[in-house]
């Protein structure tokens, strides 16, 4: 098997990125930002509220955290529902105890089918963003642009109606996108999204319908990534979160405000043997000098007002 000549063409070998979605920029070259009241470290605690359908199609791949066994995979279906029934209420207590302002990334299907949980979240007044329709509704090129647009439109219209919130933020299931996703999100009233984990600060992202703000929701310290994926202990996860917070807090002294983004799943950290570890991490990060617990949208708006 030999390679044809096209394998040795380098059409994008020039300054900047190999696509035109955003400008190349190094973090340390940017203007430092100042968070409100001289705060140094924004705490963005992001909580996905997810629905994993039992009749998962798995196109183009099985969503991480989804069904893995032959139908009906009751073990994973029910364990994910555990998060929405039990884990989330442990989370809410912990958030209130430590003064965390959680941002809830909600699957629209969960909001449609769980009015109690929906109302509980809505009444709290925390920010809600859209996490797609459900966890098996993966955005990818195989959908086609029109079908994907309908999926995004339906997901947002329904969630806006149910929550009474404008819903400006988006997180794709599995952070997966098609080539059109950002264009369609912007066309449907989304202002910021969190699928591209290529920065520690927000940046502006081009679409065919104006700019989106890319918000830095790192995967690397996410509970699912560290504990399920890497098989690290809960204590190690706490240590990693605290080390990250310390590092970013120190960097903020010389380079301007930073963001600690923590993505945590009620079905994982909400387990009885893990919740104390989450509480420990929250206690540590909220007591950092200069910590600013904030919603994702607040951080985004504050950042963009300084650009």
């Amino acid at each position: 098997m030999t390679l044809d000549k096209a394998y040795f063409d380098y059409p994008h070998r020039s300054y900047g990125m190999d696509h035109d979605r955003y400008d190349w920029s190094m973090l340390n070259d940017r203007k430092p930002v100042e968070w409100p009241e001289g705060k140094k470290l924004a705490l963005w605690v992001n909580v996905p509220l997810q629905f994993f359908p039992l009749n998962q199609k798995g196109e183009p791949f099985k969503v991480p955290g989804g069904m893995t066994m032959p139908y009906p995979d009751l073990r994973h279906f029910s364990l994910r529902q555990y998060g929405n029934r039990i884990g989330i209420y442990r989370f809410l207590k912990a958030f209130d105890q430590h003064g965390v302002k959680p941002t809830f990334a909600m699957n629209t299907r969960l909001a449609e089918t769980n009015p109690y949980l929906l109302n509980r979240i809505v009444e709290r007044g925390d920010e809600i963003t859209c996490h797609g329709y459900h966890m098996d509704a993966i955005h990818w090129n195989g959908l086609g642009k029109d079908v994907e647009n309908e999926l995004i439109k339906t997901s947002l219209e329904s969630l806006r109606k149910l929550t009474g919130q404008e819903i400006k933020g988006w997180l794709s299931p599995a952070k997966n996108e098609s080539d059109h996703t950002p264009d369609l999100l912007a066309a449907n009233g989304i202002e910021y999204f969190s699928d591209w984990v290529n920065d520690d600060m927000p940046y502006q992202f081009r679409t065919s319908n104006g700019e989106l703000t890319a918000m830095p929701l790192t995967t690397e310290t996410e509970d699912h990534f560290v504990i399920n994926g890497n098989k690290h202990s809960e204590d190690s996860w706490v240590e990693q979160v605290c080390d990250a917070a310390d590092f970013l807090r120190k960097e903020a002294d010389t380079q301007g405000g930073r963001i600690l983004a923590l993505n945590i799943h009620p079905w994982l950290m909400g387990q009885p043997h893990r919740i104390a570890k989450l509480e420990k991490a929250l206690e540590y990060i909220t007591q950092i000098d200069g910590a600013w617990p904030a919603y994702a949208g607040e951080i985004r708006n504050n950042w963009i007002s300084q650009q």
């Binding site: 394998y7 900047g16 190999d18 183009p60 090129n141 699928d195 520690d200 080390d243």
Partner: protein, 313 residues
């Protein structure tokens, strides 16, 4: 396909000629930051898919972009703090995409060696001419942007052919005489430099680069905790330092700006670098300096010693 690539003869780790590093150092210590460019939509290679999910495969692409946007500067400032010059394993297209990074490394007199053009273009399936042209392009690009005569090679994404090391050495000679194409990082068979057999009979050396100390292997393949990675680095060093009293050893930490530079991993890495550089008898150096020192001082004695240990039945 061959049973054995034939690059090196068996050479037991006892009774070798003693290596003495400059100033009586026991360990030659080098850090090799990989600075890479992965493409969002590379052309398909029949033998290896660049990404695990259909394009655009954001998780892998975006963390690597994070490394260049965010991680590089953090790692560089840390290496500055401990007086370490990086030996960069470079996707040479990065000279075009991100010249700011190249400038920062040039200012610090870091070494640049070739890691191919893009880390999403695999050697698999290349003809000898195609691979030679790719290697030449990468070495010429380094020379054009940095003035350096590329001494070392780590094949892109560790994808090789049977010709890789020969071609690299030959193109090095063609472009830069004895100064170019003198060492490889592609082989993991030793803790000391070893002569490598090439068809050209050129004097060429394998400089240990360590897959085990590689942050991507530690974090992505072995999935270890940051603090444990730091501990492994220290323990790896301790043993090589102790053995280095008998004959000089080499320790390399190969890094990636999208692994070691994450906020939750920097502390462990810093502690390890602090530990190593706080020892007296450490030669903090670069890949090229190790290769040249070995070729100038120990290559011939090593060849003779290896030869004496090849017993025929």
């Amino acid at each position: 396909m061959k049973e054995d690539p034939g690059y090196f003869d068996y050479w037991p780790y006892e009774n070798r000629p003693k290596i003495e590093w400059p100033n009586g150092a026991k360990v030659a210590f080098w850090v090799a930051p990989n600075i890479e460019y992965y493409e969002l939509n590379p052309p398909a290679n029949p033998q290896r898919a660049p990404w695990p999910t259909p394009a655009p495969s954001l998780p892998g692409y975006t963390v690597r972009d994070w490394g260049n946007r965010v991680g590089h500067i953090r790692q560089m400032e840390l290496l500055d703090k401990y007086g370490i010059r990086g030996s960069i394993s470079l996707s040479t297209a990065l000279c075009d995409h991100h010249p700011e990074i190249i400038e920062l490394c040039k200012e610090r007199d870091w070494e640049f060696f070739s890691h191919g053009i893009y880390n999403t273009r695999y050697t698999y399936g290349m003809t000898e001419d195609q691979e030679r042209d790719m290697i030449r392009d990468s070495m010429e690009t380094i020379h054009k942007h940095t003035g350096q005569k590329c001494a070392g090679y780590l094949a892109p994404a560790l994808s090789h052919s049977d010709n890789t090391l020969d071609l690299f050495a030959e193109v090095g000679t063609e472009l830069f005489g004895d100064e170019g194409g003198i060492y490889t990082c592609d082989l993991f068979h030793d803790d000391q430099p070893t002569p490598i057999h090439l068809r050209s009979k050129k004097k060429f050396v394998s400089v240990p680069y360590s897959l085990e100390m590689n942050d991507t292997i530690a974090y992505v393949v072995n999935k270890i905790e940051p603090r444990r990675y730091g501990q492994q680095i220290k323990e790896n060093f301790d043993r090589l330092y102790a053995e280095g009293a008998e004959s000089g050893t080499i320790m390399c930490i190969p890094t990636h700006n999208y692994q070691v530079s994450y906020p939750h991993r920097m502390k462990a890495f810093e502690e390890a670098l602090d530990y190593i550089t706080s020892h007296d008898d450490v030669w903090v150096t670069t890949g090229r300096e190790i290769a040249e020192f070995f070729l100038d001082n120990y290559y011939d004695a090593s060849i003779a010693d290896i030869s004496s240990k090849q017993r025929t039945a």
